[in-house]
Amino acid sequence: MSTPQAGSEESSARAGLEDTGTPRATVLDVVGLRVELDSGTPVVEGVSLRLDRGEILGLVGESGCGKTTTALALLGFARPGTRIAGGEVFVAGEDILRLDESDRRRLRGKKVSYVPQDAGQALNPALRIGGSITDVMRRPHEASGNGVGALLTAVDLPGTAEFAARLPHRLSGGQQQRVTIAMALACEPPVVVMDEPTTGLDVITQAGVLDEVRRLRDELGTSLVYVSHDLAVVSRLADRIAVMYAGRIVEEGPTATLLARPEHPYTKGLVQSIPDHTRPSRLTAMPGTALGVEDRPQGCAFAPRCPQRSDACTERMPELSGTGHRVRCVHADRTPPIVPGPPRTARATVERGLLLTVSDLHASHRTGRDAVIAAAGVSFDLGSGECLALVGQSGSGKTTIARCLVGLHRRDGGTVALGGEPLADRVRRRTTDQRRRIQYVFQNPYESLNPRQTVGEQLARPARKLRGLSAAAARAEVGPLLEQVRLPAGIADRYPRRLSGGERQRVAIARALAAGPDVLVCDEITSALDVSVQAAILELLADLRGELGLAMLLITHDLGVVAVAADRVAVLEQGTIRESGAVEDVLHAPEHPYTARLVAAAPTIGRTDGPLAVPDTGKSQT
């Protein structure tokens, strides 16, 4: 473990490289990194990366691909239950993997630092933020000194002693994330590893943090490894992108070329899965889902989902080959260029008959003595066969409004009418037919199916209960329902535990369809899913609307989802509809300033210049 001689020999060579003063000096060099579970199963294998001074490298992949494991290994750290089993990680000329724990600690913070995903959990709740920062500076007696103020100012926070004396819980999510960035910069390390630093933040807050990150690189010349599941976010930031799949890098190259002409079929699939609100088009979903660490197949891990696989693919893992733009695929030359999906045009809104009418809806939450307003006079309507998106950030009240419609949340005032009939406040007071006509699909697919009932049982129940079918007739419905959501009939006998997130969400949709509804209320149904799975679900919804003439109320925070799925959109902020209209009109020519900020902040692939955040004319959010 600790053979510093070997390391220092290498390091002098690298240091020499750095001393030449060329702009291409390498500050981080990873060769053949392997991290495995204690059982010996590899989590990450054969990862090689290089980062030049002042460069931003985006590390992209879907859940379970090993990107966070890789990020931590760059600091010589392995999570409990895993260990770094091989490879070299040169940070500022020293192989951190050859150092013992105390020497690694010496490098951390000073030569390479880390910005964690969930800032709320990552800040010590017992320490004032000034204390957290000086701890990293290793200058504990200077709690409110100049250093802290300057750092806070550098990340766009107030550099006052009062602010430094605050406890983390008094900061907003965006502020907390800025503090973790300030901590990472405290010792001015040449390399900063950022692990999904904006996941969990609102789009507008996220845009502010992203601008911040880019500005810091420009001003301080810090090199960054930016880890994210979101290719669109990374494309706004990174000079080069490395795409990971099943523990390996499958493609790596300069951002522009990689996105314009991906050579790995997975990268191509990923790019085509991302809904873009500036260019709404039908998505092309990849089949299947990524497999767990223990289930990775022999040969190329992507082969089972790959449209261009051959026998050669399943025999052995292809090498990552090429210079500048590297790709791990034996048939890279066969990968077709990206074909934009057929442009999607929202339906005409003239011939629709009015189905659901909401007028002057008021609703609130009570938590203890506090009341939070969720809807303050919200009105909208939905025509039959139409899809209306209700878009807003967390806390805007969108979910509560949806729950009022179906009768799960008691409204404070206003009316909801279905086909002209006013609907009772609570679902128990509604007629069976009213209950049948509106169906709800829940956000979290991991909690929306009963773990103790088979898929078949859960699909048959609503058909019996709401359509009055006999037990046998309801059972006979299960097969066709599964087919409708593109699932194999064999799934009927399975328990949800054995289904992936995407499969569960399809079952949840099938459960709603089993009632034979007129309106489907979809509450953030793709927000817990990977982007490639999201694309498949969105395509399914589009198909179902065509086949069944369903009206849909789509609750989402994602303008991309709005653009590819909805006809009309209503923008919600603080329980009030700020703007509504046809999707194209609202997204291309927003009238309300809030909508304008939202549209500008939403990241898309392709637009790589200009700041994301539009200055807020109202109160500061970040």
Binding site: S63, G64, G292, V293, E294, V406, G407, L408, V427, R428, R430, T432, R435, Q439, Y440, F442, Q443, N444, Y446, E447, S448, L449, N450, P451, R452, Q453, Q458, R461, P462, K465, L466, R497, R498, S500, G501, A508, R511, A515, A528, D530
Partner: protein, 279 residues
């Protein structure tokens, strides 16, 4: 998505304890509970004087005699049944009522809820043993009052756990979906909620049962539960304390104490292993 991975990796739990400590507990439990339940059929008369008080062990009475000259071994074999049965009964009653109240409070959220929370406050505001003594004062001395009191004192904790689990379940999509399709409350509770909280329930059955054993044995030891001339491990420890001197027969006290000890340690080890408290 990590939750999904974990759910797939963790194998389903069975009755066989996963840890070595758990298996030791299971073996010990089978041994002590077996002795307690089967013992009465093999033991001689526990009430007959066979030798002078506190005779040391000999061939006729392998564990000697107690303060009235009765055979300690015979009393040991007869005296375990009561602890197990009464503790079992108390636990059963506590669960039967606790589950009902907890489900009602957690799901209906109406009158049972504040009532439950207030009674939890009251019952938590003094030691369990004091509560049982008070109960015995009110309803007369005897094992019946002790069993009832043991059930009542455990009830709120069980009800509260069920209430919390029910509240969590009520916010799940499948429960709300059932409400949305107009299922009756009893159907929602039976089909959607109850099957999904059995794990929470079974997690601390062992703990509750040990607690019942501990309380009932302790009250018997204090002489406020089961009355002489009943043979009972707790009572035996209490009534033979005068024989602790080495000149007399310490086994009259030690033997029942050790049996009780083995029993409680066994249930603890097993309960620990079953509640999945991995180290």
């Amino acid at each position: 998505m990590t939750t999904d991975l974990i759910a797939r990796l963790v194998p389903r739990r069975s009755w066989w304890p996963a840890t070595r400590a758990g298996r030791v507990g299971l073996v010990l439990l089978v041994a002590t509970a077996g002795a307690a339940l089967v013992g009465p059929f093999f033991a001689g008369s526990p009430d007959r004087s066979v030798a002078p008080p506190f005779s040391p062990p000999d061939g006729d009475a392998p564990l000697g005699t107690d303060f009235l000259g009765r055979d300690v071994l015979a009393r040991l074999l007869t005296g375990g049944e009561s602890v197990l049965l009464y503790a079992g009964l108390a636990t059963l009653v506590a669960y039967a009522v606790g589950i009902t109240v907890g489900l009602a409070a957690g799901y209906l959220r109406s009158w049972p809820d504040p009532l439950l929370m207030r009674s939890v406050d009251v019952l938590l505001s003094f030691p369990s043993l004091v509560f049982i003594l008070l109960f015995a004062t009110a309803f007369g001395r005897g094992i019946g009052a002790v069993v009832m009191a043991t059930a009542v004192i455990q009830l709120p904790a069980i009800a509260r756990i069920i209430r919390t689990a029910t509240l969590t379940q009520s916010a799940r999509g499948y429960v709300e979906a059932a409400v949305l399709r107009g299922e009756s409350s009893s159907s929602v509770l039976r089909r959607e909620i109850l099957p999904n909280i059995t794990r929470t329930l079974s997690a601390d059955v062992g703990l509750r049962f040990t607690w019942s054993v501990l309380l009932i044995a302790s009250v018997n030891f204090l002489g406020l539960g089961l009355q002489p001339p009943n043979a009972d491990w707790g009572l035996m420890v209490s009534e033979n304390r005068a024989g602790m001197s080495v000149a007399l027969n310490p086994w009259a006290v030690l033997a029942p104490a050790l049996m009780l000890g083995l029993l409680t340690v066994a249930i603890n080890l097993l309960g620990d292993a079953m509640s999945g408290d991995k180290k």
